[in-house]
Assembly symmetry: C2
Homo-oligomer: 192 residues x 2
DNA sequence: AGGAAGTGCGACAGCCGTGTATCACTTAAT
DNA sequence: ATTAAGTGATACACGGCTGTCGCACTTCCT
């Protein structure tokens, strides 16, 4: 997937970005929205969408690839300064919350597993966090896949939680996620 | 929604059941499967599907209604003999696992909330279980909606877990769900 | 300024799902 | 056994989305 295709003109490249952005927004509201609607939301024509992405499938894959890239960015940014594993999880959770607002559709598209489109690199990164949590005694569960799935599931549920929910009065959304996950995986969520 | 429509012939009634059953199976594999495929799976023609259900929408609603009924059945059966709240949750979880095998599509259709089609009766039933768990000191979280969502989310994740996963070596799927949920909601999951 | 790249517009063909209707035939009900 | 109900088969109209043209026009690049 390198820069094998000869480079696009500057405005054209910008338009592909617009399309991806518009697709993320429109598909989040309606997963079966037509390319027409996506193009419209991008201020472009359906024909142009087809010029950038040969098929609907190609557009979806590009969307998934973009999401995976954001995931690895989030993972890297969560690890700078070598904080405690719990702090890493907290930072990463906040990063994913931001992704939920812009890439909600793509996240449901790639799911929570390699088999469904989530990058192996991302999977490994998340599981590494839980390995560190385990080494630090924050959790007792030993299944990497299980830890990751519980985490992503609870993260998603918190995202669906209304902003004024009682659970969020004293702690942030990320803190609620981390506390719940550690509790679910056999830790002492109350300590901080 | 009573028996307002004059009663069908016996075989016709049986066919509606076949259609619902086939729809549950086919749509679980492909949520956007056509009525043609559903009818085929039921051993019937698309025309007959349309005779029983005026529109695709109507079929989906019937599917959701059937699921809600199974939910309340499961709730009732979980409460006979007045067992401990934890035991109630365990029984109900097992009932839902069975539903996952037959009504997977419908469950994702109705979601985890009244707003999306889950019956208020079912919501109240589930939240009642958690109120009892709270009264018994098994959990500390106080938000009914939050408890319910965490529960259904983790239940779903366990269902997705491969049957030979390490987490299931010493405890059943339902026990894994209950343990994880109680931990996530501020309890001591290790106790039996 | 000149040429190339990109876009808008419109049109077309193809496909698939939905919903309705008709008619001959089979089946349950009493 | 007779009657009404239900079904299969087939056809049709309708609408929507996809993918691909061609052509005139605008925009960037150098």
């Amino acid at each position: 997937m390198g820069t094998g295709t000869r480079r696009l003109r500057a405005d054209a490249e910008q338009n592909t970005a617009r399309i991806l952005e518009a697709a993320a927004k429109v598909l989040a509201a309606d997963p079966s929205a037509s390319l027409e609607r996506i193009g419209e939301a991008a201020g472009l024509t359906r024909a142009t969408v087809h010029r950038r992405f040969a098929s609907r499938q190609a557009l979806l894959e590009a969307l998934a690839a973009q999401l995976n890239q954001r995931y690895v960015d989030g993972l890297e940014r969560s690890c700078v300064d070598n904080p405690s594993p719990r702090e890493v999880l907290l930072r990463f959770t906040e990063a994913v919350f931001e992704l939920k607002t812009t890439h909600l559709f793509a996240m449901e598209l790639v799911g929570t597993d390699c088999a469904t489109g989530l990058s192996p690199e991302v999977v490994a990164g998340i599981e590494r966090i839980f390995a560190r949590l385990r080494a630090a005694g924050e959790i007792t569960e030993t299944g990497d896949r299980w830890c990751r799935r519980v985490y992503l599931a609870l993260l998603h549920e918190v995202h669906l939680l209304p902003g004024d929910a009682a659970e969020l009065r004293k702690r942030s959304r990320a803190e609620l996620v981390v506390g719940s996950v550690l509790g679910a995986l056999g830790g002492m969520p109350g300590q901080g």
